[in-house]
């Protein structure tokens, strides 16, 4: 009989082997899922994982990878800092929306002024918007001990309502012939976030994501705050003994993750999305949770995981247009990835043992 047994110390092998094994299991089980739907599983898997990078349209799709990976990485890194500390911000989607609204509002308020200062101020406003939205669950948690998971999640729906109001009301394009949605930033150079190198897919959001990845890595490995984050997550009582104030930690972690999600929203609305619209948000805030865990809550791992997840997005879109696979199947596929990741992760701290005799 198999029995789970705690390892004396965490396995380094499984720490690194978990993500690839989870991806492999997802391919196998996902393949079975696609087969039962009457699709050729090998073709689907190839379309999702291979074609975007090496296929016929890779020249365009590779850029799309960076476009998708940027916001995912930026949000996931913020979330990972909180998750490391045992603070569960599930509402990055809402903070992402609020960042976009705050940043876009600043830009649209000064339209059509041209100044080099406009975009940087919008960036700050975007980060501030996400930060404010994250401070609501943070303060409720520290003052009234509410559950940050529920509050941050519910605030996503509030943010979505505000987004709908913004695109049909206060941010609506006055020259938009009554259609919902704001002015398009692509026609307002001072506030736009264009591709930095044509065809690369790289815009300021991607730059921010990569820089944040490196900074977060340094924070976690070298800085005292990073030590405190890890300590609080692993041994809360030891963290208090060390001198970490739980209140300050919650405010800091929620604040960072909110601000980064807000930044991602701002870069998205001024760049790839181009405008505030009712369906501007596409679930990056939730997918980033998967990315954070897929990257083992390690900033550098998250950068890799962000690209992998972007691959399933881009490849998934290809699969749905070329092979007629429903969007829901792609979402199941992404969910499966998190499921297998968490399941395989058990092996980092536990091992299977053949139990001798009955037990």
């Amino acid at each position: 009989m198999l029995r789970l047994e705690k390892r004396p110390s965490p396995s380094r092998f499984w720490l690194y082997a978990t993500p690839p094994v989870a991806v492999l299991l997802t391919m196998v089980v996902g393949g079975i899922l696609f087969a039962t739907m009457g699709k050729n599983p090998f073709e689907v898997i190839r379309t999702i994982f291979w074609d975007p990078v090496f296929g016929e349209f890779a020249f365009y799709l590779r850029g799309q990878l960076l476009v998708k990976a940027g916001p995912l990485i930026l949000i996931a890194i913020g979330l990972a800092l909180g998750f490391r500390a045992g603070i569960w911000n599930i509402g990055a989607e809402g903070q992402y929306i609020m960042g976009a609204i705050f940043g876009a509002s600043v830009g649209l308020a000064v339209f059509p002024t041209e100044s080099r200062l406009i975009f940087p101020v919008m960036v700050v406003a975007g980060a501030f918007g996400g930060w404010v939205w994250a401070m609501i669950p943070a303060i409720l948690k520290t003052r009234f001990n509410t559950n940050e998971i529920l509050v941050s999640l519910m605030l996503v729906y509030v943010a979505e309502t505000i987004l709908a109001k913004a695109s049909t009301g206060f941010l609506k394009n006055p020259e938009g012939m009554g259609f919902p949605g704001s002015r398009n930033f692509s026609s307002y150079p001072a506030a736009a976030n264009p591709e930095l190198i044509a065809g690369s897919g790289l815009h300021w959001g991607g730059v921010a994501a990569l820089v944040t990845g490196v900074l977060a890595y340094i924070l976690l490995t070298r800085h005292q705050a990073g030590f405190q984050i890890k300590l609080a997550g692993q041994a809360p009582r030891a963290a208090r003994f060390h001198g970490v104030s739980p209140t300050r930690l919650v405010v800091m972690c929620m604040g960072i993750s909110g601000a980064l999600a807000g930044l991602a929203g701002l870069f998205e609305v001024t760049g790839p999305a181009g405008q505030i619209s009712i369906d501007f948000n596409t679930g990056y805030g939730f997918t980033a949770i998967i990315v954070a865990f897929l990257g083992r809550l390690n900033p550098l791992g998250i950068v890799l995981a962000g690209f992998l997840m972007a691959l399933t997005y881009v490849g998934g879109e290809m699969a749905s247009t070329n092979l007629g696979l429903p969007d829901a199947a792609i979402q199941v596929f992404q969910g499966m990835l998190l499921f297998f990741l968490l399941a395989v992760d058990v092996l980092t701290n536990y091992r299977f043992r053949l139990a001798v005799g009955a037990h």
Binding site: P8, S9, P10, R222, H223, Q224, A225, F227, K230, L231, Q234, A235, R237, A238, A239, R240, F241, H242, G243, S245, V356, G357, A358, H359
Partner: protein
């Protein structure tokens, strides 16, 4: 040989024979060719340092793990319990060092949880009452375990075992949570059991207790039997040296010049942040430079709370706690360390140390401030590693290196590391809860010596401990924590065990039981 000799010269029929038992784990041989025998009704001590293989041995007898080779015979029949339930069915019961009780359930419910086929609650309560009266262990079956003292909780465990009418009762460090009077009562119970034919396998570090209680002793060192003896005929020191395999040094104390007050606590009260904890009520004391204040008390009388209040995890009004002339009562742990106060909590796994972090990271946990390991917010890991290596060398911590996770170290080794971490920071006030809990005799002696050395250098030290011998050995003044109140500190010299016992609140109303029963 078919029986073991009693100290009276008679021969007891043999109950359990252990022959050539070997058990190896990857990297260590926990037991190597261990043989000994226990007679019916014999009180047999199993002695040894931490890691000598005592726990592994009793776990095999209790069916928690299986030996690699060797045999056990119980009353002449082959005995190979595959699980504890089987051991219990064959008449072997065990009281663990750490109780497995649910605080929110009452005594009878807790007892029922440990039984295979618990009887009706009313019948069970009646049986608990009967057994508890028979053995002088008063216990009300309807009381909540959360409201019981440590001594009373132990009685729940013992009665749970006695209800199975065992032939062999294994007790792992049973007296560490008891007052001297409670120890006496426990010993009366054990002697009564022995005279009725129940054998007891008794594991303890406390050699004087073993001398007064046990008929025979088997001494283990590094997994092997190194000696057997009759404890009454040996001195505690001789047995300790057999355990360690070397001569022991008694900690030397210097005659200290009492300096000015280094730590002052006045009228400190605080609600406990721990569920089922004990609130602190009007604690006042002072400790001078070079003085060691010993604080005794049965576990759960506010020791953890006092440590929290001194370390800064539990804050109070500024002037309630003073380090020299600084009021630090409202400051957190970091500022208190800066002011010169370091503290070492009792719970190693999760409080004093983060189990999954490396020793280097755990060194940084408290030493960052005083050792100047942070520059502009960045941690100097190279310097931290050097400090961790210093601790490992100075305190003889057995570890493959400073990068292993704290939880990979044995309890005693981790304790040495954590003691070193606090004692090597050059603090002016040192507060330690249970400095040698679960540490072997040689290491305990060296930890106590370092405590005395720090005091000799002028540090004020507060030692909170449940080991009275330890407190008498290291402390200049002595106080007792009882239900969150601290007695007035008295000079340690000249105190008798009886006086101390009374300071500790006697036996919590238990004396009566044995006089009546």
């Amino acid at each position: 040989m078919t029986g073991t000799e009693t100290h009276g010269g008679g021969v007891r029929p043999e109950l359990l024979r252990i022959e050539g038992i070997t058990k190896a784990y990857p990297g260590v041989v926990a037991n190597s060719d261990v043989s000994f025998a226990i007679g019916e009704g014999e009180i047999h001590a199993l002695l040894g340092e931490n890691g000598a293989g005592k726990s592994t041995m009793v776990k095999m007898i209790y069916g928690l793990i299986r030996p690699d080779s060797g045999q056990m015979t119980l009353r002449g029949a082959a005995y190979q319990p595959g699980k504890p339930a089987e051991a219990r069915r064959l008449g072997v019961a065990m009281v663990f060092q750490h109780f497995s009780l649910f605080e929110a359930l009452n005594v009878a419910e807790n007892v029922a949880l440990g039984m295979e086929n618990p009887p009706q609650m009313r019948e069970l309560s009646a049986r608990i009452r009967a057994v508890s009266e028979e053995y002088g262990l008063p216990l009300d079956p309807s009381r909540m375990v959360g409201d019981l003292s440590a001594g009373e909780r132990q009685r729940v465990e013992i009665i749970r075992c006695l209800l199975q009418d065992p032939k062999l009762l294994i007790m792992d460090e049973p007296t560490s949570v008891l007052t001297p009077q409670e120890v006496e009562i426990l010993f009366k119970t054990l002697r009564q059991l022995s005279s009725e034919g129940t054998a007891i396998l008794y594991i303890s570090h406390k050699l004087e207790e073993i001398r007064s209680l046990c008929d025979a002793a088997t001494i283990l060192r590094r997994g092997k039997v190194v000696a057997t003896c009759t404890p009454r005929e040996r001195t505690a020191r001789e047995m300790a040296e057999l355990m360690v395999g070397a001569t022991l040094k008694t900690p030397e104390r210097r005659v200290a010049e009492k300096g000015e007050v280094a730590l002052g606590v006045s009228d400190l009260s605080a609600a406990s942040p721990i569920p089922f904890g004990t609130s602190l009520k009007g604690i006042s004391f002072t400790v001078a430079k070079g003085e060691v204040l010993g604080i005794a008390g049965v576990a759960g009388n506010g020791q953890d709370e006092l440590l929290l209040a001194l370390s800064g995890e539990l804050k109070a009004a500024p002037d309630k706690v003073r380090v020299a002339s600084h009021a630090v009562g409202d400051l957190g742990p970091v500022e208190r360390r800066k002011a010169g106060l370091v503290a070492a909590p009792e719970d190693r796994y999760g409080h004093a140390a983060a189990p999954d972090m490396s020793l280097v990271e755990n060194a940084f946990l408290t030493a960052g401030v005083r050792k100047g390991l942070v520059r502009n917010g960045f941690v100097d890991w190279a310097e931290t590693r050097r400090f961790a290596e210093e601790i490992i060398a100075a305190y003889d911590v057995r570890t493959p290196g400073p990068d292993v996770a704290a939880r990979a170290l044995s309890g005693g080794n981790l304790q040495k590391f954590l003691m070193g971490r606090e004692l090597m920071q050059g603090a002016s006030v040192i507060v330690i809860n249970q400095p040698t809990w679960g540490v072997d005799a040689a290491a305990a002696a060296s930890i106590r010596q370092s405590i005395l050395d720090r005091a000799g250098e002028g540090a004020a030290v507060v030692v909170i401990s449940q080991d009275l011998d330890e407190l008498l050995e290291v402390s200049d003044s002595f106080a007792v924590l009882n239900e969150g109140r601290l007695t007035k500190p008295r000079p340690t010299e000249g105190l008798t065990m009886d006086q101390i016992g009374l300071m500790m609140g006697g036996a919590h109303g238990m004396e009566v039981a044995h006089h009546v029963g």
